[in-house]
Amino acid sequence: MNLDFSDDQKMLRDQARRFLDEKSPLKAARKILESDAPYDRALYKEIAELGWLGAAIPESYGGLGLGYLELCVIAEELGRAIAPVPVSSSIYLCAEAILRAGSEAQKQAYLPKLASGEIVGTLALAEKAGVPRPDRLETRLEGGKLTGRKIAVPDAGGADIAVVAARAGSGVSLALVDLKGPGVARESERSVDSTLKVGGLGFSGAKAEALGPSGEGWTLLQTVLTRAAVLYGFEQLGGADAALAMARAYALERYAFGRQIASFQAIKHKLADMYCLIELARSNAYYAAWALSSDAAELPLAAAALRVSASEAFDFASKENIQTHGGMGFTWEADPHLLLRRQVQLRHVIGSPRAWKERLVAELERRNAA
């Protein structure tokens, strides 16, 4: 029985935590929140130099080829630090899509640059509020040209390339598009978490190359989202843990009625409930990490379970962290809202937990029928 990270992986975690503590304390996130900069370029460069971006990318494509467990470890720490960098868009989504669906030439062309941080990638799916479905997509890929409009694209402002879900003929294909080329318009969008900005992408005949077989885009997309769900789940776990730590520290240092507020059962039990949800999420996360790293048949179920569990933990912890802080908690000046914002971004970026609950039960039923 071995449901834990190895000593090497734990060492990587400690290193990552120390690095981010120093280089990306919450004020780094706040700086991006209050600016128009798409992300913290200096930090991203350093992260790239540490090899984190390529942790799970094979050496033949410029990565370190360590594996997904290592990337999970890094994701948890990025989430804990609410680091204002596009690792998730560029690596969990874009690089993963190219790894799963790309031709050898595409992998050679893009993965080394994504791994080195030379370019940033993203993935564009949503076109309007609600649950996306193949028959609802209006973006079209025809004759190598992309037309349509995507919204809420993570890191749209900072990305150089995007994987775009589009209708092609009667099916869905994935298209790879250079966002700096002609026929691409970026639109800035206001969202709850401006430390990880989202944006709109308008395509008017932009040049695009197909990623993966035509018509298999939707299936490929589900694979990518499922795999990304594990990594996002670790970011959510790290964020939730940070919220508990912040709430705990404040409850211990804040006095009311002559005692630490941490001595009131209303606060104690609130933090105990946070702890329970976080440990459940952590356990679901470790299992999902195993499934991801071993390409297990259980992955779709494990990833959905983690997505639901980690979203719930971060939602509760980020809200009740604010509540524990009282009046200070809802000021711009204090830090709790930074975690609340990140929680929202991570909850929605690859579909909200209610959609993942549906996927979870669908998977249970599929396995039952099999």
Binding site: A129, P132, G326, G327, F330, H337, V349, S352
Partner: protein, 410 residues
Amino acid sequence: MDFDDTPEEAAFRAEVKAFLAAKAPKYAEPWEGEETTRDDVYLKRARGWQAEKAAAGYAGITWPKEFGGRGGKPMEQVVFGQEEGKYDLPTQPFLIGLGMCMQTLMAHGTPDLIKEHVGPALRGEKIWCQLFSEPIAGSDLAGIKTRSERKGDEWIVNGQKVWNSGAHYADWGILVTRSDPSVPKHKGLTFFIVDMKSPGLEPRPIKQISGGAHFNEVYFTDVRIPDRQRLGAPGEGWKVALTTLMNERLAVTSFRDVSVDVPHLLRLARSIDLETGPAIENAAVREKIADFYVRSQGLKFTNYRTLTALSRGETPGPQSSIGKVVSAPKTQQIATLGMDLADMAGGLLDGDLAPLRAAFSQTFLSAPGTRIAGGTDEILRNIIAERVLGLPGDIRVDKDVPYKELPTGR
């Protein structure tokens, strides 16, 4: 049971309607954003409307006639409020002054002070604010430390207050200070009214996570207050503050923040598609709508029960104490659900992109404040447990200890 006015109420309502029809439109203007109360034009309009009401005898409806009030019934106040609420009138700047400050002044002020201040407040000439909470003392208000020291006929005040709505435009404020830190916390407080234009008194806006700035912090640096502006004896300020606090729930400031409820959720659910079709056809969404609906309706009819008591001239039961502790978390939950239905677009704040002009995500950002301002969920549960259900208070370790010896953390 019925939902009709009594004949007296109906007559009064007719009178009020006529007054409003004649006078209100001039002052009613569409709301143009959160920053309105930081705008002089808005304040001028607000003062004008208050003066109109005072002239017609509708300011201070339940106040004794000797203080310039109408000597009317609580239900008349309610009827006026219902009708006034149908117009978009700038009433907010006066809620604290008339609802809390003047109540306190009338109960504890000298005849001179009352004479000097009540009329101008009633007529909208002077706006009042409340200077109670401090960074160190929120739920535990008696823990404040802003220091007052007597020097001859004056008091010198130093310290910091916080969560002071309207402090940036108010003319006067009511202020609790600590005059004696060597006695237990409730015993060393002294209460004043203070001219907000006093030298050394500086309000600064507090930015909230929703982006708005409804509140201020107020810094005191050697602010001088004449002793005649003291309410109650030195060291007896807690008793005076209790009068203010008992009036607080009747004067809850309503920010004009966006806030979503069941009708918004229904509109959203009818317009948005989930996996298999419109959200309104999804059983999980339907169950949640029903859950929220019974809470909203329950609160609405709880209010009707309170109005029934007022209409009968009775004291309302304790049921009204459930309002905020039920509604604030509900608002947060509805906002979260609305965002979840929008799926990947859930975090958008852009009115052009997010459903219902981003009402759900906007509410999401104001909801945490709603669960805290005016009493946290936790304090409100304590109040229900103790005042309504008669359960014992929390064990107090700070009752008999000199204030200066209490642990305060940082």
